[in-house]
């Protein structure tokens, strides 16, 4: 048979570029409360539709409705809100610090705070998180010292990873936070291996991993889901779809063809597609996945729909590739505003408290800043140069000893 039309190469383009009117009409949405909540032991084949639904709890008025309402007490909600405020405040401050030349690099998670802050409340401290560089909320929510985060960012003498990594590549075993890799996607199958080990040992700890919409294209995404399904690993595989991968819109990763959530179907894994800017929905979905894992039912994939409000990193300028006001048109709003509205609605919060919380966050960050800058910002202070040669191996071989000698440290 000959072709009916000549072939042509299709390259996806985003609905809007700088100057165009933002357009999110392609986004599959559902009203809060509409999506059913299956039992955690549901047969994945009977819950495929969840890949095309949207788990939401907060409606447009900020009321919590529907089967996914986690019914959290006000204390928990207030902690979630203040954690998110603190993360955003910290991001602002460190972004300024970069402009002030105090650090060589920084990455914000503005607009995505609900994901890490809500998930940190569900996961136990001894569950292991395999994050990307946008889950600083896990550390903040778990009470990791802000000053220590800054020490890492400044690569100063108190940097817990000894000046060896780029700013924001945190690592804390004590806080169940796996060392962030600069290489995208690698942590995803590692989390599955960690979960397999936990299951192998008959323990009770589970793992969680995060990956961005863009990085789902890496082979490691496929490796993770294959191993998680085959060995029924107790792991939560989170996809953070913030619609952009540096300058590439989600369609370059296949986001216009179907939902990222639907990738779980091909592995027989249960999946949830969740409003990532709805703190309660994130909390409830994560609880559902964690319960499955702890009940030895295996892995769950969760796609969180959110939007990267800030630039990709301090090296990026989004005005070159997307409408300046695209964030304002994102239909799922801002996670902080939405949780605030909810708390006020149920009479557990007020604009005054919000203002105080914001002031308190600024204060807390300033205090941490003082403490860390007293040690030093980039260039002013750093770990001993001998750290360059330490911990390549558990014990250095003769090459490292000789080379250290050449440097004279």
């Amino acid at each position: 048979m000959k072709n009916t039309v000549p072939l042509s190469l299709r390259v996806p383009e985003p609905p809007a570029r700088p100057g165009d009117k933002p357009d999110f009409s392609h986004l599959i949405l559902q009203a809060a409360g509409e999506t059913p909540r299956p039992e955690i032991n549901v047969d994945p084949h009977d819950s495929r539709d969840m890949a095309f639904a949207l788990v939401r709890v907060l409606d447009d008025e900020g009321k919590a409705i529907g089967p996914w309402n986690p019914r959290l007490d006000a204390e928990t909600l207030r902690k979630g809100l203040t954690d998110m405020i603190l993360v955003r405040t910290f991001d602002e401050r460190m972004h300024r610090a970069h402009r002030q030349g105090k650090t060589s690099f920084y990455m914000k998670c503005t607009g995505e705070e609900a994901i890490a802050c809500a998930q940190a409340q569900v996961l136990n401290r001894d569950d292991m998180c395999f994050p990307t560089y946008r889950q600083q909320g896990l550390l903040v929510s778990r009470g990791y010292p802000l000053a220590t985060m800054m020490n890492q960012i400044y690569s100063n003498a108190k940097d817990p990873i000894k000046g060896r990594q780029l700013p924001i590549m945190y690592s804390s075993k004590e806080f169940g936070f796996f060392t962030i890799s600069g290489n995208l996607g690698t942590q995803y199958p590692q989390a599955v291996g960690w979960a397999m080990a936990s299951a192998y040992k008959g323990g009770d700890k589970i793992a969680a991993a995060w990956i961005g919409d863009g990085a789902t294209a890496e082979g490691d995404f496929h490796n993770a889901l294959t191993f998680a399904a085959v060995y029924r690993a107790p792991v939560i595989l989170n996809i953070v779809n913030n619609h952009w991968a540096i300058s590439s819109f989600h369609g370059i990763a296949g986001g216009m063809e179907t939902t990222f959530a639907s990738k779980a179907i091909g592995y027989g894994l249960p999946v949830l597609r969740v409003d990532g800017n709805d703190f309660l929905a994130v909390h409830a979905a994560t609880q559902w996945a964690a319960d499955r894992a702890r009940s030895n039912l295996g892995a769950t994939v969760i796609e969180f729909i959110t939007y990267r409000i800030a630039q990709h990193s301090t090296s990026d300028d989004p005005s070159r590739y997307r409408p300046a006001d695209e964030a304002d048109h994102f239909p799922l709003g801002d996670p902080i505003q939405r949780l605030k509205q909810h708390l006020i609605g149920i009479g557990e919060w007020s604009d005054e408290q919000q203002a105080e919380a914001e002031k308190a966050a600024v204060e807390q960050v300033r205090e941490a800043g003082k403490e860390s800058e007293a040690i030093g910002t980039i260039g002013q202070s750093r770990p001993s140069v001998k750290e360059m040669f330490e911990e390549v191996f558990a014990t250095p071989d003769w090459r490292l000893q000789e080379q250290r000698g050449e440097v004279g440290v």
Binding site: Q165, A217, E218, G219, S247, I252, G254, Y321, V392, R399
Partner: protein
């Protein structure tokens, strides 16, 4: 003739080839509409169209595999790996496929592709934005490895790489994209503007792969280097006053063995400089070749000045980076030897 920096020169090479040959196209992560995180593919989509310069999914393996398939079809894709530190997911497709398809098919199929990637340190990029993995490619039969050190060569070598009928890994020393950084990080940065090697002719010209360039003639010692280290080595010669012959290899495979042999036989001494870790770096091969071919002329042990056998450490950039001081010390050692 315009004075261009290396980014502009590389961009021009792509523009020239895409204008000349409809079979040349470019793609990579953020390399389409945005023009690449280092802007090397800037404006190519606007000028040549969406299907000739486009964004790719974040899958280095998929990018190279797709390029291989295109090359097998008969076109000449040029792909960008955003940082050399991210080339490893594509390693299997490069080593097992691109390198072997001509050979294993009895010459029926070939892979005329170019894999561009910014590499090297000196930018406080930490361990995943600073690596120099060249020797992982020089070991692979069937792969050519090219590294320019200035705008003029960058354009001419990239054009040759694109026109070459075999797969070429083309590493761009990102530290000298904007100026011939010589390792004196405490001094003001020189831009390319005004530099004679920034005088880049318009239009098409090709520099053959496998021909080194003598950057400085000298009689005391031969310095073998490439990329950023060319400028560091020149500074070291300057600083020490040692009459070094500084040879910019430009292409590691194919290698200009005649130029190397002739120079070392003349000087009787050799220093090799690269940023990559010492063990099994390309300096090891160069050292082995020199002693095999110039053993009876060598008056002192060949010296290697390299990165250390550690990952690239963020806070210790200048202790890790082989600067003019370390190269100068090696020049002195080899003269004493």
């Amino acid at each position: 003739m315009a004075s261009l920096n290396m980014i502009q020169a590389l961009n021009q090479a792509l523009d020239v080839k895409m204008t000349q040959d409809p079979n040349v196209l470019s793609f990579g992560e953020d390399a389409g509409y945005f023009g690449g995180v280092f802007r090397v593919t800037d404006q190519l989509q606007a000028k040549h169209g969406l299907t000739r310069s486009f964004d790719a999914p974040i899958s280095e393996c998929g990018i190279v595999a797709a390029a291989i398939g295109m090359g097998v079809y008969g076109i000449r894709p040029v792909v960008e790996i955003q940082f050399a530190d991210y080339i490893y997911p594509a390693y299997d497709q490069i080593v097992s496929e691109a390198a072997k398809i001509r050979y294993r098919s009895g010459g029926e199929f070939s892979v005329p592709i170019t894999i561009r990637s910014p590499y090297g340190g000196g930018i406080f990029g930490g361990q995943t934005h600073s690596q120099s993995p060249e020797s992982l490619f020089t070991h692979i039969a069937g792969i050519k490895t090219v590294i320019p050190s200035n705008p003029y060569d960058a354009k001419g070598l990239l054009i040759s790489a694109i026109e070459d009928n075999d797969p070429v890994v083309f590493f761009e020393p990102k530290r000298i994209y904007n100026g011939p950084f010589d390792g004196h990080h405490d001094r003001p940065v020189k831009p390319w503007a005004g530099h004679e090697l920034a005088e880049v002719p318009e239009g098409h010209y090709a520099i053959p792969l496998g021909k080194a360039r003598t950057m400085r003639e000298g009689n005391d010692v031969t310095v073998l280097c490439y990329g950023t280290m060319v400028w560091v080595s020149l500074a070291a010669a300057e600083d020490t006053g040692i009459d070094a012959e500084v040879i910019d290899l430009r292409s590691l495979v194919p290698l200009d063995i005649e130029a190397i042999e002739a120079s070392v036989k003349k000087t009787g001494r050799c220093v090799i400089v690269h940023e990559a870790p010492r063990t099994s770096g390309y300096g090891a091969e160069l050292s082995a070749l020199v002693q095999e071919r110039c053993f009876y002329q060598l008056e002192a042990p060949i010296q290697r000045v390299t990165g250390w056998d550690t990952p690239y450490p963020h806070a210790f950039e200048w202790e890790y980076f082989p600067g003019p001081k370390r190269v100068g010390d090696a020049l002195k050692r080899v003269m004493e030897g």
